[in-house]
Amino acid sequence: MKTVETEVGAILAGTISAITQRSIFNRLGGLAARPIQQLTAQDRLAIMAELESSVRLFARRNSAELIASCAQALAGGAAAPGGGNGPGTAGSAGTPGTSGTAGDAAGSTKRLSIDQEKDIATARLEAWSEAVRIGLSKFTSVKVATAVSELARNIIFYGGKGFVELKSTKDDRGPTLQIVASDKGPGIEPRKLEEIWAGTYKSQRGMGKGLVAVKKLVDDFHLDTGPGRGTTVTCLFRGER
């Protein structure tokens, strides 16, 4: 059966890596597995909004062509009955009703829940695209994605469940991206925390180096933790200028 995932996946193959494709489809949620035939006009809009930003971000070449091909595939090839929503409408990025990020210009907040291992990849991709969107450099954006990856992994490994929040602002000093990673897990004991910062702590699963690594990557770092309190990391990336 032709689903959104099989059709779009076939178009993106070779241009966007399988890892990134996975994350894109994860972000589409239930829509990814939906047969092309059963898509409503609204579904198509939602999918295209997601694909347009992701493809533009990750395709190394001819993203416009890819986006157009995706739109065509979603329209079910040639005969798309009713709706009149032909393949040509791929460029309708600013269509009202397309729910993108809230408050594009001034600043926005996005909260991503981290409940299972696959959420790590999704959070990483979200953080990356947010960093690029607000104008952080390519290198900084990779650092943002790496930091979120570490923090989200810590939540899954040690906290169980939690969330990552991305807050972007833009002022005359340039763009900033604040990341808050929080869980209601057991928290970190003071003695363990000392070992972590000293670099002598070794957990069974990770290297116990995630927090240290994040601290080195970011421009500003704050940790709130303790037994029974859970753990909340707040950190900040600043754009150049």
Partner: protein
């Protein structure tokens, strides 16, 4: 979902794995195990892991790569990581994590060349 594994390709006496998917715990352990098995059965001298499709390498992935490198070394072979992206390399440096149990090469070709030199 279940029983997924990464394909291992043999080129002469080297084993090649291209990492194209999210490396989670189970997958990484499976890869380590099957690589060691294959190193033995194929009498391989080298293992090459291609990470050119991996956009983000964090400390956890680094640990996995180092672990694979160590286990391959215990078997008497050498492990090469190829295709690390520039931004990823810069990030690893800033984080202060080391890829010290593996060799690195710019691409597959150069890794094969280096492994060949090792054998002569």
């Amino acid at each position: 979902m279940k029983d997924e594994s990464l394909p291992i390709i043999q080129i002469r006496n080297c084993l090649l794995v291209s990492i194209q998917t999210e490396l989670h715990d189970r997958l990484a352990l499976g890869l380590q195990e099957s690589l060691m098995e294959r190193v033995r059965s194929a009498d391989a001298k080298g293992v090459i892991l291609d990470v050119s499709a991996v956009e983000v390498i964090d400390s956890y992935i680094t640990r996995i790569l180092n672990d694979i490198g160590k286990s391959v070394r215990f078997m008497g072979a050498e492990c090469y990581i190829v295709g690390i992206r520039p931004a990823v390399a810069m990030t690893l440096i800033e984080m202060g994590v080391e890829l010290d149990s593996v060799h690195t090469a710019l691409n597959l070709d150069l890794a094969l060349e280096k492994l060949e030199l090792l054998q002569s």
